[in-house]
Each structure stands twice: as C-alpha cells, then as structure tokens.
Amino acid sequence: MRADRGAGHAVGTTLGALLAAVPLVLAGLWGAGHATHVVDLADGAAWLVSPERGLVSLVDAPTAQVAVTLRLPVADAATRVVQGRDGAYVVRGGTLARIDAATWTVGGAVVFGDEDATLAVVPGAGREAGLWVLDGRTVRLVDARTLQVRATADLRLGDDVRAVVDDRGDLWAADDERVVRVRHEHGGLQPVPQRGPGGELVLVQGRAVLVDVAAGTVRPLDGRAGVSCAQTRSRSPGAAVAGSSTSPEVFAAFGGALRVAGTDGAACGTVARVGDRDTTLGALAEVAGYVVATDPRTGGTTVVDRRTGALQTFALTFPGHRVELVVRGSTVFWNDLDGHASGLLELTGGAWRSTPVQKYDPATGAGAQVARTDTARPGPADADPETASFRIVSLTPDRALYAPGAPAVVTPEITGEPVPGEVWWWRFENLVTGAFEDFRTPGVPIAFDALPDVGEYATTLVVVRDGSVATATTTVRVVTWCALTVSTTLVDLAVDPTVQVSVDPACPVNQEITVATAPWLDADTSAATVAGASGAVTLRAVAEPPTTGPVAGALTLEVTGQPASQVRVDVVGAAP
C-alpha cells in the first residue's frame, strides 16, 4: 500500500514537473521571430514605346534621362509594350517580342495569334514564373526569356479579353460574359470557369477583383461577398478602372469624375472631379494612396490624394494624344503614345512633381541615345583598331543643324602624318530609319552637297593607315523647324509673369511662334521670333482664373505650322 502511494506520488511529481515545462516549449510554437529582411532592389526604369516612330526608350527615373532607345522592326501605331521583371515585351498584332534589358536588343517576334488578334500579356508572379500570353481562345504560359511555350489550354472567351495575375500566381481572365481562373499545376494549365458574369479585372492588394461598371458592382474573386455601389455605376462605355495596392478599394473614372468603391463595402462615392462631365478619361493608376487620372481630351493628368481629395493637375501631352501610365515603385512613368513626350511623376516633399523626358527629337524624329546597329563598321575587316599608332582626335561638322538640302562639311583632326595609300571610309547612318551609306575617299575632309531628309545622321570616319585603323563618330541633324525652349513650365503671375522663349542659335531655318492663351489670360509677345533670336512673353490675367492653383496648359507656344513643337506652360492666376 505504501509502495503504491509512493509510486503514485512519483508519477504525480513527474507529471507536474513535465507540465511545468511543456507549456514553455509549446508556447514557442505560437510566437513570431524577428523578421528577416529581403531587399528587393529595382533599377527604377521603364521601357516606353513610341509606336508610330517604331522606337522604344528605356527611361531612367533616377536621372530622368533616356538611357537607350531601340528601334523596333516595324513602326505601328498599335504596338504596345508590356513591362516585365527583367525586360519588356513588344506586342503587335498576334506577335510578341522580348526586349532584353541586359543587352538592349529586341528579340525576334514570336507569333501567338492572327494578325488582327489582340494579345493580353501578363508577367507571372515571381522571377521564374513565366509569362502569360492569351487571346480569347487560348491561354499559354511561356518562358519569360525565350518565349517558348511551357503549357497551353483552351480559354473560350471573347476577343476582348482582360487578365491579371494575383499574388498566388493564378491567372484570372475575363470578357464581358465570363470569368476564368487558370492555374499552373503539374506542368499543365487548368482553366476553371467561375460563376457570374464578366467585367473588368483589377488587382486589389494582390487579389483579383471583378468590376462591372455597368452594374455598379465590385466582386472579389477569392470568395468574399461582392459590393454594389451606385456611384460607380455607368451605362456609358469607356470607364477606366484601377485597383489599389495599398487599400481594399477600386477606383473608376468616367463622366469626368474619379469614384471609389471599397471591396469590403467601406468606401463608396466620388473622390474628386478631374474633368468635364462629358469627358472620357483615359489611363488610371494608383500609387501609395494617390490616384493618377489622365484626360486625353485636354492632355492633362491629375493626381488625386485619396485621403484628402486634393488635386494636382499637370499639362503633360498634346490634346487628343493617348497616354499610358506605368507604375514602378513609387514613380509613375507617363508616356505620350502619339508624341515624343514622356516623363515621371514623383512625390517629393508632399507634392507631386513632373519631370519631362523627351523620347525622341520632334524636329528630326531621331531617338535619344539610339543603340548602335550591329552592322559591321566600314573598312577592312582585318584591321585592328587597338594597335593603331594614330588616332582621330575629333570629327567636327561645320554646323550642328542643317536645313534639308543644305551643304555640310565634316572636318576630321587626326594625329600623325598621312602616308601614301591610306584610305578614309565614311559612313552616314540615318538614326531615324537605320539606313546607311558608305563612301571611300582620299585623305581630305568630306563635303556633302546636300543632306537629303529630315533626321539625325551618325557620321563615322574610319581611317586605315599602314594596316591599322582609327575610328570616330559624330552626328548631324537635318530639320525643318527647331524646338522651342521656355524658361519655365510654371508661371505664377503674382511672382513673375514673364516667360523667356528661345530657339537653338544654330537653327538653320526661319520660323514664327504662335502663342495661345486661356480665355482668362492675355499674352504680350515681343514679336515673332526668328532663328537664333529669343523673346519674352508677358502674361496678364484679364479675368478670374478657374482655380487658385496652377491651370494646366494655360499658355501654349508652338512653331507656326508645327504642332509637334508645342510647348505648354502652366499658369497660376492672380486677380486681374
């Protein structure tokens, strides 16, 4: 009996001792450790296309500069560029080509559909996730670098297909009638039709949400209840929608107003008025609690503070031009698809700032920092430029700008003494078209009788002397008009109502400037500006300005007859 008590005592004690420690061990399973930091560094650049010029430019945000411009094989107004993780993709017709961000080359176009097909191209979630390419009938997952098809499946949607990839890596595709989720499983694609009608697809905090503007509904596709919102209902076509990455909200722009609908039902209403009631707004994007809305009719772009409803409007493009918005981190790249302008919208010190970046010279059509073509240089192939005992110090044209047909002289300066039999090779490459022509001359400066067309020409001289080679390149431009430069793009009448306008002194043509102002503004011009001259425009308010802040594009200046030369100036009004 006593032994039994002792054994029971021991068991009780053992259990008690264990119970005292076990919770301590188990408790650790519920706790969270210190977060491991992963630094995801980006280059802050975006590939922006100029479809009608057949150019695509890598715009570098930190420097607000074009790092390089690539020529596309075909100039087509329908060309689109989709940003990828390590490059971009050129979509034209039913073809897709990859832009290699490493080597700055455009790969061969791969056919994924008919010539009139509209491809939707969506990068997958993650660096190795591949690229989704789909039209209404077929969805494919292709290798993001080689564009080789990994898997394919039938989709059975209409031609006007929209698609997003959520944070889990699932593709959601929709037309007006249906929604399909596509998963990549076991090496194949598994399309799963979803219940309910189709609509626009957006990502909200990484999750797919279906927006039916006509019905005024917002339906998260992860199973949560949908929301109906009268303020986001519109029967008229052309509404732009965007999802928020930071809050459970969907934004819709139509009828000149920016509206919001919370996917959790919390918010529903009009955020701000960003245009006239009959305006069909263009691209829409959300970044860090701000919504960027474009108005193609005026060329203005408005940034709306979601929390306060405060607006900032910028005159970025020509009226009527299409504008695309590309969000990279906290920077919004804007791109005039029908013109030479592009730029950055960045939040600095609590206010948004626009920095323009010119993709190509509007006067010549030559792209900024065009990558060299891979054609062989002129001259003998076996010559070694590294062993040359002489070099070309400079290659100097007699002018920077030429009028079409004007004579031009390019003078080289070369070290060392000429030797009998040395050969000079000249190449003239049109940087707009890529066409080039070679000349072989004796050792004298070359003179061109006439530079034929408007554009920018790379002039390369290769000198072969005693079997060694020296090379140099310069550029000349042929223009019919010269770009205008203004002293400021924002005039505050209360501070300084004067805008200095100037033209490149080297401009070879005479041109007049047309000045236009908003109705509430009057401009006192110093007269028509001639080549090489500069003038001033003094502004004066003759009526009450429409707003107290900057009025986008209240002053425009352009070379008469050259709409592409137009320069827009924002004006902060003052009482007349």
């Binding site: 006593r2 001792a17 706790g31 390369t460």
Partner: protein, 765 residues
C-alpha cells in the same frame, strides 16, 4: 544541488549563442531559483496537481521582474511589462532562431533560456526530492543541453566542456541516487533511537561509502568520454542539426532603388548632407578613405542587386574569414543625418555595432536599418570593422565560395574578349585585376554620362569605336563583370568617399556628392579586396594621354577591406569608459534585482504568516482554535526575541514572561490570560465554546500589540518578515501530529508523542 548543477552545466552550452557573459547571471539565478522553488514546494508538501501551476506562476513572475523590471512602474507590472513578458515567453524560440550569432543578452533573447533553465531546475529538484527515480532526474538537464546545442548550431561551436560537465554531474547524481540507503527497511528512526541506534547516521554513512566507491568509475567514464570526443571527429559541432534550416521566419520585403542607380543623380544634383563620420583606427584614420553603403553581389545582366537575407544583429557581428596577413581594427562613429537610405554605412568588414538596431547580411557584410522608425531618418551608431593588411596579396588566389559570385548570365562575346585582354596582362589574379583596373581608369570619366550598368551600357563604355564616357557606376560594373569572366568572385560596392581635407576635429561631413562605386574581389586570405577602376580626374575635357597608361599601379592599400576579428579581442579593445559604464549599469541592475527579490521574499513571508494566522483562527474545533491562538502568541514572542522554551507549559511560559523585560513583560498579562485559557481548553474535560476561542484570539492579538509596542520599528519590521517561525520551533525529534483534547473530533495520534517536542500546546514543529 547536483540536479541544479546538472541543469546549469547543460545551460553553459549556450555560451556561443551570446556575446560576452551577460547571460550567465540571469540564467544561473534562474536555475537556482527553480531549484529553490522545487525544494520549497516539496518542503511545503504541495500536492502534485499544484506543481505545474505554481511553477508557471513563479516563472511568469520571475520573468516579469527578472527581465522586464525596467518596464514596471514603481514595481508594479504595467501593460508594457506584461506584454513584454508574454511576448518573451511566447516568442522565445522564434526570436532566438532569427538573430545573428553571437547575440546580445537582451531580455527578449534571455526569456527562453531563463524560463527553460528555471523549469528544468524546478523539475529536476522535484524529481529528486519527491520520487525515487535514478536516471530520470537527469532528464531535465538533458533537455536543456539538447535545446542549447540546437540553438547554437549556427556557430559550429564545439560543446565539449558543457557536455562533459553535464556528464560528470549527471553521473554523480545517478551515483548518489542509485546508492541511497533504503528508508524502507522496516525500522523507524524513533524505534532505532529507543534502542540507542542512530539509524539516520548509519544511512548517511552507507550512502557516502557507496558513492565513494563509485566515484572512480564515474571519473573514468567522464575521462574516457572527454578523451574520446576530443580524439574522434564524431561530433565536433560542425554538422549539428540546425533548427534554422526548418524554421521559416517572417519575411519583410524592403523595396527600393538600387544604390548603384542612384550614384549618377547624387553626383550631379546639388549636394545634400548625409552623414557625419569619425574614424578611429590603430593606424592613420585618414587612410580609411571611404565607407561602404551596400555590396551588390548579384548580377542578372541588367542590374546589380543584393542577394542576401538580412537577419537582426546584435553588437557583435558574425564573421568567418581568416586573414593571411592580419587585419587592423577600425571604428567609425556614424551620424545619419537623413533617413533616405535603407542601408547603413560600414567600414571594412563589420564585426561590431552599437547604437542602433540593424539587420545583417553576413555574407556580404551589409547592414540595413531595423529600427521601427527607420523612415524617420536621423540616428547614430558606432560600427567596428576590420581592414585587411594587404601584404602578400599579389600572390593571392580567388577564394572558393558562393557560385553566385561568379554568375554572368548570357554574357555577350565582348565580355570574354575583355577578360582575355586582362588575362594577357599577367599570370596572377592580382596582376590581371590590377591591369583591368588600370585599363578602366584610362577611360574617360564623365559624371554626367548616360545611366545604366547593363551589358548594353557597359558595351557602350568599353567598345573600341566611339566609346561613351561613363562614371563610377559603369567603371565599377565593368570591372566586376570582367573579373567574374576571369573566374574571380566579384561584386560592386556603393558608398561614399571620406575626404580627409574636410575633416574637422576628426569628423568628416559626408555629402551626397561624395557618392562612389567600386568593385571588390574575394581573394583567399584577404577577404573582399577593393579595386579602383575610376579616375575621376580623367574627365572628358582633360587632355588625353597619347599612350595608353601602363597598368602598374596597385589599388590603394588603404581602401577598407573586410576581415574577421575575434569577439573577445573586440570586447577587450573597448574603451575604458564603456567598460566602467557597463559595469556600473550591470551592478545597478544586479543590486536592484537583489533588492526586488528580497522585497518579494519579505512580502511572501508576511503573506504566509497572515495566511497561517487566518487558518489558525478559523479552522477546526474551538479547542483547536484556542490552541492555535497560543501557538500564534508563542510565534509572536519568538519573533520579538522572547525565548519560549518548548518544554514549558503555557502557564510556565506566562510566568516567565511576567518576570521578563521588554516585550515579554509588556505582553505578560495577555500571555497569562491566554495561557489559562489554553490550559483549560487542552486539559479540561469540556469542549470550549466559540466564545472562548474568540477570546483566546483576542488575547493573542493583545499579545501581538503589546509586545510590538515595546519594540522599535525596524525590529518590528524585521520580526514581521522573519521566516523562521513559519518553519516552527526546532526539535530534534521526529515530527508528530497535532494532538486534540481527548474525546474530541480530532483523531488521536497514532505515533507516540515525545515529551518536550511540543511548544506547550500540543503542537510539534
């Protein structure tokens, strides 16, 4: 004691986890406290079901006041202290697995070791005192050892000493417990004493003899184990299972622009003050001419990025490189003026950090901010780094390691051509790299050059025909790309130049325009060695040399280079002021902890006495309560220093008190009244009434009041917290049950009651 010793021996395996010895005292105190608690609950004979709750409550209270006392308000636990305690207990494992080693002995990292050791010691003592388990007693210590080995697996430290210490202690413990003389031999101590036999002493001698006989065997086993482990490479700690391999910590993704793409705007934009840096080194501080912000070690052909994972770091930063020619220690006091960058500047290879919270990518030696308000900007810290001595570096080869440091995905043909040119310049890695740097330095420098460092941008810089001048971004990238093509692990570092000409009292103001980028190559025995392929004076407008520059200039030896230092060396090199301050701080904390502990103990004693008094006054029959009132009065008198002999009857005690002095005489009348009552209650034939019991307790209270009135306040306080009366009067006899008056409800004692073993009221100790 042996059980607690075994637990503490096991806990000593935790040494590689922490920096310094700050963890030892808390963990040791926890072990002792756990053991003491085990002994107390055994002594108080608490039931088995209460052991776990008691242990947990004491554990939580101990953590609260032992680790988070600073967060209490006037000694009372507020929400922050409670939250910190609960977080510490809940997240102890996870936090210990998500810091770099060695870590600082901070409360959040001590929570688990302290709790585990306290619980283990508690359990071990309970098993030792309340069971007859022999080997099982060692189990808690083994659990602690396994936990400590797992937690320190990341350091590849050999835990031979703690393991052998545990083995020795455990064997001794097993030896003692296995050879205890049985107390179940059928003879009671009283019976043995009645016939003149000291059975207890015989049992002690028997146990000691057997243990002594077993000691040589245990010593032999310990020696054999120690020698065997030393001689045989079976468990040197290098391949120990690491729970970090299976634990998935929460991941925080910090997005931002690569520091390399931000070089150009900083070069050309108006300068912005960024840092104030004071460099202190064993040599010439001016020789350290730059601080490194980030080391970009991953290249995909378009962008240099940071590939590592950053883990929360303490004051000592882990490092593994062994330097062939040694390394100098450099300290930099850095004041961050703006919070624009995620990265923190370091000097050389960082081995120590104080002043701010940071996370470290140990592979690259890069620090990122980990303070909760990193976006707010200003902070200051001191970083200690090692700068390699480059003596003999000309003969160094590339260090083996991460293949990602050699990756050049889809490299164009010109990369191999450039590598061939560099390879032709010399036979050794140093000669080739040196030539490559010189070639790049000879290229024109243009701070307003085109941005980018992809293959395309580098080709624009390096092409033979119509090259486009670049700046440090392209020069450093080109060097690193070609160095990788040569087969040398290379990366691009971004940081800021320290212009000694701008130093004021040793402090250099660093502006954004001081930004720079340079390549580094991992050389065996020298760590990451910096090269300088950018000549900022060789601008586009500068006169171009007619002849190509001969690549013969070695990179600046002064460029800060990483190496690793021993923690101990780093600690010993600390400033005297810092050591004194730390000693003072630690001393204050220890004193405060001791005082708090004593206060807690005193409060416990007072509470226990109050509970006992309440129990005595309310439980049992009136006769029992009357007797209890007498025991209470006797305890009061003893606390006040009045001797109360056990052999005396209550009436004798009362007489003695009356003729006494001080508190005894003051309480004499009340004692006499109470003595009369208790004598009548114990010896009288009739059961006393409730009123009698209440009267007895009134007298007892009067005894307390009067006795206290003659005693000064300090002594009264000491009497109140005196724990001795809780144990009862000392006796030499065996414990005996209380005796109730005959014929009452209390059962009679089965064992004989020795005369003189009571305090006059029938109660034994």
């Amino acid at each position: 004691m042996l059980a607690v010793g075994a637990v503490l021996a096991a806990a000593s395996a935790l040494a590689p986890f922490f920096t310094g010895r700050g963890w030892v005292l808390p963990v040791a105190l926890a072990g002792l406290a756990g053991g003491l608690l085990g002994w107390l609950v055994t002594w108080r004979r608490l039931p088995g079901w209460s052991l776990a709750p008691v242990g947990l409550v004491v554990l939580v209270v101990g953590q609260l006041y032992g680790l988070h006392a600073a967060q209490t308000r006037y000694g009372l636990p507020g929400a922050p202290a409670l939250r910190a305690t609960v977080d510490g207990l809940l997240s102890g494992w996870a936090r210990m697995l998500t810091v770099t080693l060695p870590a600082d002995a901070s409360p959040d990292l001590l929570a688990l070791p302290v709790g585990l050791v306290a619980a283990a010691a508690y359990g071990a003592v309970l098993l030792a005192l309340r069971t007859r388990l022999v080997v099982g007693v060692v189990l808690p210590a083994l659990v602690v050892l396994v936990a400590c080995l797992a937690l320190t697996a990341g350091r590849d430290a050999w835990a031979l000493v703690p393991t052998v210490a545990l083995l020795a202690t455990a064997l001794l413990l097993v030896l003692v417990r296995a050879n205890r003389a049985s107390t179940d031999d059928g003879a009671s101590l009283a019976d043995a004493r009645a016939v003149g036999v000291d059975l207890a002493a015989q049992r002690r001698h028997s146990t000691a003899g057997r243990v002594l006989i077993g000691l040589p065997g245990a010593a032999a086993v310990v020696a054999l184990a120690g020698l065997g482990a030393s001689a045989l490479p079976v468990a040197d700690g290098s391949s120990r299972a690491d729970p970090r391999a299976v634990y998935a910590p929460p991941v925080q993704v910090d997005q931002g622009l690569s520091p390399l793409v931000q070089v150009r705007p900083q070069l050309t934009d108006p300068p912005v003050p960024l840092y104030r840096v004071r460099v202190r080194s064993e040599g010439d501080p001016a020789a350290v001419d730059r601080v490194r912000l980030a080391a970009l070690d991953r290249f995909d052909g378009a962008l240099w990025t940071q590939g590592g994972r950053f883990v929360l770091a303490g004051s000592a930063l882990p490092h593994t490189t062994t330097y062939a020619s040694g390394a100098g220690t450099v300290r930099a006091d850095v004041e961050v003026l703006t919070g624009g960058s995620l990265f923190l500047p370091v000097v050389g290879e960082p081995v120590g950090l104080t002043g701010t919270a940071a996370a470290l990518d140990a592979a690259s030696g890069t620090l990122v901010r980990a303070d909760t308000d990193a976006g707010s900007g200003a902070t200051s810290y001191t970083v200690t780094g090692l700068v390699a001595d480059l003596d003999g570096v000309q003969d160094a080869g590339p260090a083996p390691g991460d293949p990602g440091l050699l990756a050049l995905p889809d490299a164009p043909a010109w990369v191999a051509e450039q590598a061939d040119d560099a390879r032709a310049a010399g036979a050794t890695p140093w000669a080739q790299l040196d030539a490559l740097a010189a070639t790049l330095r000879a290229r024109s420098y243009d701070p307003e050059g085109l941005p980018g460092h992809s293959y395309g941008a580098l080709e624009r810089l390096l092409r033979a025909e119509d090259p486009v001048p670049g700046y440090a971004e392209q020069h450093a990238s080109a060097f690193a790309v070609v160095a990788r093509a040569l087969g040398y692990p290379a990366r691009v570092a971004v940081g800021y130049r320290l212009d000694p000409a701008r130093a004021v009292d040793g402090v250099v103001d660093v502006a954004s325009s001081d930004v720079h980028a340079w390549p580094e190559v991992l050389l065996d025995g020298y760590g990451w060695v910096a090269f300088e392929p950018t000549d900022v004076t060789n601008t586009v407008d500068a006169p171009r040399p007619d002849e190509p520059e001969v690549p013969q200039v070695a990179p600046d030896d002064a460029v800060a280079q990483p190496t690793q230092a021993d923690d101990a060396a780093d600690n010993s090199a600390s400033e005297v002021g810092g050591v004194l301050a730390r000693v003072v701080r630690t001393g204050v904390l220890v004193v405060v902890g001791v005082v708090l502990g004593l206060l807690l103990l005193a409060a416990g004693v007072v509470a226990a006495k109050a509970a006992r008094r309440s129990r005595r006054r309310t439980r049992g029959t009136p006769a029992r309560r009357v007797a209890a009132a007498w025991r209470e009065a006797c305890d009061v008198l003893r606390e006040q220093g009045v001797p109360v002999a056990l052999a005396r009857t209550p009436l004798e005690v009362a007489r003695t008190a009356r003729v006494g002095t001080g508190p005894a005489s003051a309480a004499g009348d009340a004692v006499a009244e109470l003595a009369t009552l208790v004598t009548a209650a114990v010896c009288g034939p009739a059961e006393p009434t409730d009123a009698t019991a209440r009267r007895a307790w009134a007298h007892a209270a009067e005894v307390r009041r009067r006795a206290a009135s003659r005693v000064p306040l300090p002594r009264r306080v000491l009497a109140a917290v005196d724990p001795r009366t809780l144990r009862g009067p000392r006796t030499r006899g065996a414990p005996a049950p209380e005796v109730a008056p005959p014929g009452r409800d209390a059962p009679r004692a089965e064992a004989p009651v020795p005369v003189g073993a009571q305090d006059g009221a029938g109660r034994a100790g």
